[in-house]
Amino acid sequence: MLAIGEVQSEFGPEVAESTFRDNRRLYVPADKAYALLAWLKQARGFDMLVDVTAVDYLDYPDASDRFHVVYLLLNMATKERLVVKTALNPPDPELPTVVPLWKGADWMEREVFDMFGIRFAGHPDHRRILMPDEFTAFPLRKDYPCKGLGERHNFPVITRSES
């Protein structure tokens, strides 16, 4: 079991901890996120990255930061799970990529970029993944409406005679 004191002695007292049900969470400043994740993988045996996702806290009660990027880690040997969260703010939310640590992060980070517009510096294939390349908005941001902004009407229509 990872002790919070150990993490804080390594990365400073800004790293905070909280628990909800069986989820254990570490909050880390964005500039230390990569170092913490690398340390967790190499020194503490968190060898599987279960998921990378993000949350937009635009109108969340008492939220201080706009985005949180969430890394769900798993230690295959001890079956211990850990959630690492890091806060980001507009205009240029950016984090270093974790693809060098976990190859599985490739598509997960692309999806976070596609849906939230959070960039991952150094990502080997930084493109949209689910939305078409022409798309300019980030649909899972809270300021994007459920029914869309009308982008579909601007896509070129191919008629039968042109196809």
Binding site: D22, D47, L49, V50, D51, T53, L72, A105, L130
Partner: protein
């Protein structure tokens, strides 16, 4: 007299661009669903593959922020539509974790039985479809006949064959009865000879082995590094099954084994799936004989579960209770917190990351879709194999495009 041959070799051949580009999909019978691969071919060998996805993207996660915890189950159903109830279990498992509800023992058993039936359902389609793609048509038909029986069981419980939307927060839609249990028993008995038949058709079939053995090998280290879970990881020798590692529902009470293989190739994945069906049958046999009596939903006074339909239609208290749960300005208390919960779906670890904001709608409903993560490793698996192996590898990954794109 020996024939004198003309010089045919091209001196510029070494510098020539000789790689082919082949578009596989998005509409192709062997992709089964809507996904596209751009293959770079050297003759018949695949040099590289670039998956392009998003053709079925329909914003499920956005919808999850606008539908309440009970309504969103209809959308979750449509993610992995090959095993819909497995998705429902996972969604409500996480919602109940967020709300801090402990479901009743009867509900746990019913959900377990349906979850395992869905595992058989999913594996049957996969085994059948892999065989179909590799030219064995009979196995596919055998598998589909049995899938129809499982649809009947789901219909008997929920009223819907395909997208049953059976689970609810803190319980299920309708209670099951003895006739349903009898139907499950009949299915188990009827399935055993078919499973043996499938074994006889495929497991030692020379053509099937030649097409799958040593194809698309994934090592255990790569499986962990690339976040692979479920039967794919177990076929590579990664001993990981959430049913054992993080027991949920009735699994702690039941006796079953984790099925693993060492090969990591398409054949190992097939063997793991076949064997898992056997283990699922064992679980169902034990669970169906031990369904505890008692209520299936958590107590209605908690204001979280919907009241039974007869109470809604025939009494004013039931009707008011129904509205209390469903009306947007009423509902039940949801913590201002967030959590991740996962279950072992037939395809791997299916998890949800739900952020609660005090209302009965999720503030964020992230899905961890196993198909999405498994499709990302496809180029790694196919490099160096031939074009005909594409369908074998693609089939063994069991990609469901609706879950892939959400």
């Amino acid at each position: 007299m020996p024939l004198e041959l003309a010089e045919t070799s091209d001196p510029g051949a070494a510098d020539q661009e000789y790689l082919w580009t082949l578009n596989f999909g998005p509409q192709h019978p062997a992709t089964h669903t809507t996904l596209r691969l751009v293959l770079t071919l050297d003759g018949e060998n695949v040099v590289d593959a670039a998956p392009h996805i998003g053709y079925l993207h329909s914003g499920f996660e956005k919808l999850g922020e606008y539908l309440d915890f009970n309504q969103y189950v209809t959308i979750v159903d449509r993610m992995n539509y090959i095993s819909p109830i497995a998705n429902e279990l996972s969604w409500h498992h996480t919602v109940e974790k967020l709300l801090g509800i402990e479901i009743t023992p009867r509900c746990k058993y019913v959900r377990t039985i349906l979850g395992e039936l869905m595992r058989i359902h999913d594996h049957l389609l996969n085994v059948g479809a892999v065989a179909l793609d590799l030219g064995a048509f009979t196995a596919f038909l055998y598998a589909f006949t049995q899938r129809e029986r499982i649809y009947d069981i789901a219909e008997y419980a929920s009223g819907q064959r395909f997208h049953s939307s059976y689970t609810r927060v803190g319980g299920v839609l309708f209670d099951v009865n003895n006739d349903w249990a009898e139907k499950v028993r009949q299915f188990v008995e009827g399935f055993k000879p078919v499973h043996a038949e499938l074994h006889r058709l495929l497991t030692r079939n020379r053509i099937f082995i030649d097409r799958t053995k040593g194809i698309g090998v994934l090592t255990a280290e790569d499986a962990i590094n690339m976040s692979v879970t479920g039967p794919l990881a177990r076929a590579s020798g990664v001993v990981r099954d959430l049913r054992k590692d993080e027991p949920y529902l009735a699994y702690p009470d039941l006796d079953f084994k984790i099925v693993c293989a060492r090969g990591g190739d398409c054949y190992s994945r097939y063997v793991v799936r076949m064997q898992e069906m056997q283990e699922s049958l064992k679980i169902i046999e034990q669970a169906v004989e031990n369904i505890p009596a008692g209520p299936i939903n958590v107590d209605a006074v908690t204001d979280i579960t919907l009241p039974a339909k007869p109470a809604v239609y025939r009494s004013i208290e039931g009707l008011i209770q129904h509205f209390e749960v469903l009306m947007p300005n009423r509902g039940y208390p949801v913590p201002l917190d967030e959590g991740y919960g996962a279950t072992e779906s037939p395809n791997g670890e299916l998890g949800f990351y739900i952020v609660g904001d005090g209302t009965t709608r999720a503030y964020r409903a992230r899905t961890r879709p196993p198909s999405f993560i498994h499709f990302a490793i496809f180029p790694h698996l196919i490099r160096g194999h031939t074009l005909s192996d594409v369908v074998a590898v693609l089939g063994s990954l069991n990609i469901i495009a609706a879950e892939l794109d959400r």
